[in-house]
């Protein structure tokens, strides 16, 4: 059996986070009663004309720049002509051509299993309008909801021939892309709700063969897992078909989430002729340097650059850095704490353990629409410093943090109020040690006869006498000294 090489081209559609639709002023929002967010323009009533949404153009340019694309100085909208009930005008306003899309010829880097990075070429980033949605009516028959019609849609297409060669890479590409789009604030990246949609083109060919195999396009993938499983399933299905002497049909296949398999939807006999031509209702877009620069300035530090910086400059490991950057607000919280003087490693540990756990349990978050946590970066820095200076023990820190989380009080205030402050005064500690030694001569004896493990018991007794406030490290040290002959 020959070895096979997998090639996966990715077409991703992302609904843009604009207030209004691409060519009219209808609001953009998920759901809603069918056909309530429509107007004569997005319904394509005769005589209506499109007026482009400037923000949508900027968001696509922002994405293209973040994906290292060349920006077209002159870019036009085309009409893609075909008949379908969800398409109100009988054409979709889109962009066509190799160097016409707002962005082209870029790349995105994905981390590899070996700890390096791989470049995935991006062929184009363009702007178009979304279609409506066909719905099956409870009464039988179908209806069409045009709420989604005219929502600004960005299409991101990978290079050809494709760079993606494994199901993992396909998933990683999508994960990286999604994170970038969220960081850029251009798309909310909700795969389940369809605000981000991914359609991989999958083909296999025997190792060494130059020509790509016949591809199939996979639809209905609404999670990272289904992208990975779907690509894997298609790869295995195609290899098995070829091994049995069969041929791959160029077709569109659907992904069945329930039984984790793909099924044939329709055969693509030939390429559709969409009769693209420049939309005469829209004047060509001309982008100059000041405009492009202004858009470029909106781009924040991107996730991959952030993880690299956290590792190189702040000394975090890849896993911790990855957790921190998984959400931009989370990373922002971390960076604020570090800016305020928090030890990066310690702040990171607190965030990724106790803080994350409590947030998760309470349903709160550090920013956005969910209930906002009372914990501030200042709180976290204060807490970390209390521990670093041995004012409180790590164990006390957990209690203090839980109270900060619940009440929003300052850690120092909590420590003061509860009298939790750790005792590091050596005279006090030595006095406690002496008391314990005096109370347990038998244990002291057994230590001196070689059972050095009992020191734990003695330290525990000191902690008890100090009501937990003695600095454990100092107690340990003092006890050892006192037991020395």
């Amino acid at each position: 059996m020959p070895e096979y090489v997998l090639s996966v081209g990715m077409e991703v559609h992302a609904e843009l986070l604009t207030q209004s639709k691409m060519f009219c002023r209808c609001p953009v929002a998920f759901g809603g009663e069918p056909n309530t967010r429509v107007c004569p323009v997005c319904l394509g009533l005769p005589g209506t004309l499109p007026v482009p949404n400037r923000r949508a153009i900027e968001l696509v340019m922002k994405t293209a720049l973040a994906l290292n694309c060349t920006i077209a100085r002159h870019s036009v909208f085309h009409r893609k002509n075909y008949f379908y009930p969800d398409l109100p005008k009988g054409y979709q306003v889109s962009q066509y051509g190799e160097t016409n899309p707002i962005g082209y010829g870029g790349f995105l880097e994905i981390p590899t299993a070996e700890g390096g990075f791989k470049r995935i070429g991006i062929r184009r980033v363009h702007l178009e309008e979304d279609t409506g949605k066909l719905m099956h009516l409870p009464s039988g028959g179908s209806g069409i909801d045009y709420n989604r019609a005219g929502v600004p849609l960005m299409e991101i297409v990978t290079d050809f021939p494709p760079d993606i060669q494994s199901p993992d890479e396909a998933k990683e590409y999508l994960a990286q892309l999604r994170q970038i789009l969220i960081y850029l604030g251009v798309c909310d990246g909700r795969l389940e709700e369809g605000s981000m949609r991914c359609e991989p083109n999958i083909s296999v060919r025997p190792q060494g063969a130059e020509k790509l195999g016949t591809k199939t396009e996979l639809k209905n993938l609404n999670s990272f897992r289904s992208v990975q499983l779907g690509v894997q399933f298609e790869m295995r299905r195609q290899i098995a078909t070829l091994e049995q002497g069969g041929t791959i049909l160029q077709e569109t296949r659907g992904w069945n989430e329930a039984n984790e398999s793909s099924f044939a939807m329709r055969i693509k006999e030939e390429e559709n002729d969409y009769r693209y031509f420049p939309c005469p209702d829209l004047i060509p877009m001309e982008f100059d340097d000041p405009f492009i620069d202004r858009v470029a300035q909106e781009i924040p530090e991107l996730p991959l650059a952030k993880t690299r910086r956290y590792q190189d400059e702040l000394g975090l490991n890849a896993y911790d850095a990855g957790l921190l950057i998984s959400d931009q607000d989370w990373a922002d919280f971390f960076e604020k704490a570090v800016t305020l003087g928090g030890n990066p490693k310690l702040v990171c540990n607190w965030m990724n353990s106790d803080f994350a756990k409590l947030l998760n349990e309470s349903g709160q978050w550090v920013a956005g629409e969910r209930e906002r946590t009372r914990v501030t970066p200042t709180h976290l820095v204060e807490l970390v410093k209390l521990i670093e200076s041995n004012s409180i023990s790590g164990k006390m820190g957990k209690e203090v943090f839980a109270e900060v989380f619940a009440t929003g009080k300052n850690p120092q205030a909590i420590v003061d109020a509860r009298g939790l402050s750790q005792v590091s005064d050596s005279a006090a500690i030595e006095a406690w040690v002496q008391e314990v030694l005096d109370a347990h001569p038998d244990v002291v004896e057994s230590y001196r006869t070689g059972k050095q493990g009992v020191i734990g018991f003695l330290v525990g007794q000191v902690m008890k006498r100090s009501q937990g406030q003695a600095n454990p490290a100092l107690v340990q040290e003092s006890m050892r000294k006192a037991l020395e002959p």
């Binding site: 004569p40 005589g47 004309l49 009409r79 008949f83 009988g90 054409y91 005469p280 209702d281």
Partner: protein
């Protein structure tokens, strides 16, 4: 003023309305009576919504009473039935839109209403404005008031006939390749196609989006200028709208003919021009020369490809513009087999022959493999034609020619000769290709039928073209009204 109200110019009516010598209701009633008396023979109107007309008239009178309203307040204006009117059927003279009632007003209609101008019924046209004789209407024939056996021209035949028959002093048409100027010439009227973008296309049901322009018909240049002023100006709903003020009329009468330099293209004085038309046109030129106008023959070679180029670009755009008529959301809906079957049956039965022919031509020239040979080439010729005109404008005030190569022909005469019909537009097409302002004014009669003279000028020079047309009109013998009714 012994003239009946319906025979008076819009300017006179407006003055008398403003002076309270007559009420808007009286003016509307007089014109409704005139329609009742003459439209059974002429057939200009597809819809005459008397209640709405009288309501508009009452609103206009209220404005006049308050000292408000525009210069044409209270004057009735006929509306070509491809301009969207809220609550009043807008059919494009097509079975497909027989029962379509727009839920919004075109921008020009909003402007009319805001100024108290009375929207006076919807006029007949060639289906979707495709034709030169008004014979492609799915509903009725419109006859030329000069000779009821003859065509009023097209496609704005109803808008021309209603003004010529004194049913209204003014009307609105649309001009894609001559659809205002040609019927104006054949009906002895003034018809003006403003600069592309000077009048909003929002609400005009599109035929060839890069060529379409709404414009006025009237019996005098002054009336046409007043209506041009009323409907023009930047519109944020039309991206192709020019950021210019409305067309001004203050300098309309201050133009002089002395020293005026006009270019007459050899390519518009070919043997296609009927001898009678040529004779009338040339005697008009003689009169102008006597007034001091310098008329110089020039050569604009690309004009000879005008009709061919037009019949690639206009159908290409039309094939896409008309794709929305699929029977799903509005208009005629017929059943077939499956979705595509429904669409095919609806369009097959709903569109007339000429419309289907043009959709097929447009579909063909945009197809992959033919696109460059036809559409791209046509755009190149178009660019060349624009260059030739623009270089002519450097040395001349305007380009002059006959508007139509023939006088009004008999109904049915060219029914079986579509090529001859299409060639009638060869003088008018170049202005649409370049977006130039272009006007047809009466040059005199040939065999008791009107002959039109056309002036075309540079982009944005609408005021200048109207001023020249006014001066020419004063120098030429007055055109009588047709002897009907």
């Amino acid at each position: 003023m012994s003239q009946p109200l319906f025979a008076q110019s819009a300017a006179d009516l407006a003055r008398r309305l403003r002076a309270r010598e007559v009420s808007a209701t009286e003016v509307a009633e007089a014109h409704l009576d005139r329609v009742s008396a003459t439209d059974p023979q002429v057939g200009a109107f597809l819809t005459m919504p008397r209640d709405e007309v009288m309501a508009d008239a009452a609103a206009a009178q209220a404005m006049l009473d308050r000292g408000e309203g525009g210069p044409l307040c209270g004057v009735p204006v006929g509306i070509k039935d491809n301009i969207s009117t809220r609550g009043v059927a807008t059919t494009c003279a097509s079975k497909l839109l027989e029962n379509y009632v727009p839920p919004f007003d075109a921008t020009v209609i909003e402007k009319l209403r805001a100024q108290g101008i009375v929207c006076f019924g919807k006029t007949n046209l060639d289906e979707f404005a495709m034709g030169t004789s008004c014979e492609n209407s799915a509903f009725q024939l419109t006859r030329n008031p000069w000779d009821l056996d003859r065509t009023p021209g097209g496609s704005s035949g109803g808008s021309a006939a209603c003004v010529a028959a004194q049913q209204v002093p003014l009307s609105l048409g649309s001009d894609t390749g001559g659809s205002i100027r040609l019927p104006a010439a054949l009906c002895g009227l003034v018809g003006f196609k403003p600069t592309y973008g000077r009048v909003s296309r929002y609400g005009l049901i599109a035929f060839g989006s890069s060529l379409d322009q709404i414009g006025p018909f009237g019996r005098t240049v002054e009336d046409v200028a007043l209506l041009s002023e009323a409907i023009s100006g930047y519109d944020h709903l039309d991206s192709t709208s020019l950021d210019r003020h409305p067309i001004q009329t203050n300098a309309l009468k201050s133009g002089s003919l002395r020293g005026l330099k006009l270019a007459i293209p050899d390519q518009l004085m070919t043997d296609e021009i009927q001898p009678g038309v040529r004779a009338t046109f040339e005697s008009a030129l003689d009169l102008l020369r006597k007034e001091g106008v310098e008329i110089t023959p020039v050569s604009l070679p690309s004009i000879q490809y005008g009709v061919t180029t037009y019949y690639i670009i206009a159908p290409a755009e039309a094939s896409s513009n008309l794709a929305r008529f699929d029977g799903i959301r509005y208009g005629l809906r017929l059943e077939g087999e499956g979705h595509i079957g429904n669409v095919a049956t609806t369009r097959g039965e709903g569109f007339g022959h000429e419309v289907k022919a043009r959709i097929m031509i447009g579909t063909y020239v945009l197809s992959a493999g033919y696109y460059d040979a036809y559409y791209t080439r046509a755009q190149q010729v178009r660019a060349l034609m624009v260059q030739e005109f623009e270089s002519t404008y450097r040395d001349f005030d305007a380009v002059i020619s006959p508007t139509s190569p023939s006088v009004a022909f008999r109904l049915g005469e060219l029914k079986d000769n579509p090529m001859a019909m299409k060639l009638l537009d060869f003088c008018t097409i170049p202005a649409n290709m370049g977006g130039f302002p272009s006007i047809s004014i009466p040059a005199g009669l040939s065999d008791h039928l009107p002959v039109g003279l056309q002036l075309t000028g540079p982009i944005g020079d609408d005021e200048r073209i109207l001023q020249l047309a006014y001066a020419l009109e004063q120098a030429l013998p007055p055109t009588p009204s047709p002897a009907m009714g």
